[in-house]
Structures are given as C-alpha cells and as structure tokens.
C-alpha cells in the first residue's frame, strides 16, 4: 500500500472487522478523518529513501 492508493473508507471498514471493533457512524467518520491525516504524514515520511542497511531505533539511546 502507498499513500497514493490509500482508501481510508475501505481500510476503516476492513480493519474494523478484522480488529473486532464495533463503531457508530460518527466514530467511523472521525476514524476516516484521522486515517487521512495519517496518510498525509506517511506520504512525507515515505518520500525519504532509506538504505537497506540502515538500522531502526526501536530501543533508542540518544
């Protein structure tokens, strides 16, 4: 999945079922708003090219 092909409505409906979440229409609508914001943020992040050898920082020591 890439931000370009991101379909928040479809994702929300599929994942709500997968995760066992029962939402009201209002909750679903707000979830979709937040998915759109997340996709905007992801688009910025994914614009950076990272090498295969770059290490993540799951336990981080500055």
């Amino acid at each position: 999945m890439t931000p370009d092909s991101f379909d928040p409505e479809a994702l929300a409906d599929a994942m709500a079922q997968l995760l066992g979440l029962t939402q009201t229409p209002e909750s679903r609508a707000q979830t979709i708003v937040h998915l759109r914001i997340a996709a905007e943020q992801a688009e910025k992040l994914l614009s950076i090219s990272l090498d295969d050898q770059e290490e993540p920082a799951p336990v981080f020591t500055p």
Partner: protein, 467 residues
Amino acid sequence: MTAALLDGSARAIAEAVRTGAASAREIAQETLSRIKTQNTALGAFTDVTAVRALAKADAIDAARARKESLGPLAGAPFAVKNLFDIEGLPTRAGSKINRDRPPARADATALARLEAAGGVLIGSLNMGEYAYDFTGQNAHDGPSRNPHDLEHMTGGSSGGSGAAVAGGLVPIALGSDTNGSIRVPSSLCGLFGLKPTYGRLSRAGAFPFVASLDHVGPIARSVGDLALAYDAMLGRDEADPAQADMPAAPASPTLSDGVKGLRIARLGGYFARSAESSAIAAVDVVARALKADRVVELAGSEQARSAAYLITMVEGAALHLERLRTRLRDFDPDVGDRLIAGAMLPGAWIAQAQKFRRRFRTEALALFRNVDILLAPATPCRAPRLGQKTFVLDGREMLVRAHLGLFTQPISFIGLPVVVAPVWTEGERLPIGVQIIAAPWREDLALRVARALEQDGVVRAPVARLS
C-alpha cells in the same frame, strides 16, 4: 507571608522552612486553602491528598525541631499529572476506564524522589485522556483552564500541571511529554518546562502512552525550581527499562554560569514556517537577547514530525486495543477514534519511521558538532480558545488537537533535552514559549541559557491574576 511564599519559588519556600520563617504545615494548609477556592475555576486538580500532605508537612517540621538536615525541597508543595501512580489511588491517566483499576500499591519513582528531597505531594492533576492530547481538555473531568485567560486552553496533555503552576496553586508540577505534553502547556500557560533527554529520568509508575517516545519532567515558574526538581529526580532506576545507564549530572551547580562561550543558533526551515507571527516574534526576542544571529537547518524535521505522529498512533493504539474493543463508549471520542485509526495503519510505515529515527538522530548530532543550543518556537500560536477545534496555519485549516505540537514533535522524536521559556509581549494577555534545545544529556546547558534569559528579564513566569 505564607501567601507571598506560595507565589514565589519552591526554593524560597524550602529556605523559609529551613530557617523557621514558615512551617511546612502552614505552607501545606495555605496550599490546600488556595486549591479549595480556585480549583473549580482552573480545573487543575482531580484528587487532593490533604491527609498525606499534612502528615508529610508535620514530619518535616518535626525533623527540623530535631535539628535534622532538610532536603532541598523541604516543605515545597508539588502535584503530579494523574498518570503518575500515587499509593492508594487508582491511576486514571485522564480516562474514565482506568478509574476501575485497583489503587496503586506504590508511588511512581519521580514522585517518590521529589518527596525524598522534602517536597510535599498535594494531589494529582487533570490531563488529556491517556495523554493523547495537546489541548488540556478532558471529556470526563472537564477542561483545565488557562489561568491567564480562563476562556483559553492550557494546552496538553499536562494541562492540569500548567493550570496549577500558572494559577499559583503549587510552584512545581510533574508532567509527561511524548510529543510535547510538557512543552505545549508551558508555552500556552507562560511557564518554564523541562523535557529531559529520552531515557534520563525514570518513568516507572507513570502510565504509558508511547514507549518509544515517553518522557517525564517538571513544570515550574522559575528555572531554579526546574533544576531543583530535575536534580532530585536523577538517578538509576532498574524499574524503567528505557532508562539509560548515564551518570546523574545535577544541573543546579552550574545553573548561573551564564551563556558566555555557548554557540547558539536558531532553527530555520521547518521551524520558521507554519507559525503565527507571535511564535516567530518570541524566538526573535530570545535570539536577540542571546546575540544568536545564526540560522541553521535540521534536515528532515518535517519527516521527523510525521514519523513521530505515526509511531504515536500505532503504539498508542496497540496499548489500548483491548479497551477500544470492549469499552469504546467510555473513551473521549476525540481520543478513541484517533486511537482506532492508529490500529489500522500499515506496519511498513512504522518500520520506516523507526529507521528514519536513527537517520534523523545522525543529522542532529552532526549539527551539534558546531552548535550548543538551538532555538525554535514551542507552539505555532498562543493559547486557542476552549472548544476551538481547528486553526489555520500556512493557509490550511488544521485540527488543533493534532497539530498544536508540530514544533515539539521533531525534537522529542530523537529525545533531545529542551527547556521551554515563556515570552510576554506588551499588551498581550497570553504568553508564548520558545524551545531551548541542547544535545543529548546536556540539560545543564539548556537550563543555563533559560536561567540567563530569566535573570535578564527576557522571559518570566508570573502567577496569573485570575479573571
């Protein structure tokens, strides 16, 4: 006398208690009296631990009577965001759901260390639900209100901490900061706030939000009190697995060393965009006072903010997933729906975010080879009005709750230590803060700069006169 002391610093209160000019009991009683009369307006405290506070105060007075040496915070009242464990109370973390938890069996480490230094715990403070908040509003307990204008936000999520200190209820409060939750209320309430280096202070006994990014730290009305509280909380604690094995380095001994010799620059690029003129003007004031005319760029700051945003969504969602499944209706909708969205995001985005975190750290460390301190806005604007959902930045309408921390997020993403210092403009009722950012483990430098600005009257944190 006692009332005047409460408007001053914890340091001055401790000095008065040590010399016998005031008793710890008098201080505690006056504090409790203030809370009784002002808390309804401020929405700061959610629990008041009066019995415990008076018992602790009496113990301090008895120790003085026995001529025992008293700690650096002797008799100084403090309070903690209600995500810190307080023995005997359920740790609500701003939620309705957590009130069903059993009472905490022990105090959080940070709280215990402030008490060991002589501080007197007064109670716990309002906060945004599960710390996922920049506004200081809470659907269950009501909003914390900005003491400088009660119709405006404190900022969050440590909103009660901001309200309590700016309102003169306590001189020091503890907060937590995952993406800006100490720095945003410090900016909007006109206070000094310290977010230490990631891994510096123990988080044991603080209810988590995002393990990769959670910090704890103090908010105060003076830099000296920030340093006193920070010094008291230093030290290894095996109960926090994220704490780094670094020697404790107290900041108070060098606090007044001044800024001579420090290389200070302001951050441009990302940190000069998406801000109202008041935020940029505040950095101008501080930079001018420090004769900091260099502007440097921290490459990747926008992406760093995005990465922190996504990690927060996903880790927060994972923490609360079972509660979202079973008790969604008990969440603040503004929080629950955002967490649900986090549970739905692709894992590859988060892997990229964690890899980018290390890349961005390398960029920042390279910058710190040529500079000691970086200056940046703390918030893009002064305190929004309570209930305000959106604001316009760079011509775009954005959600306040999601975007008030857009300048704090890139910095905490890589755990840099930051002091927020409040700037006041003639004719304005509300302040706005500037981030004073140092290299990892150099809290001492950020505090020194803040102290120099405070001594020169460039920044200040007065007690609000309630409107």
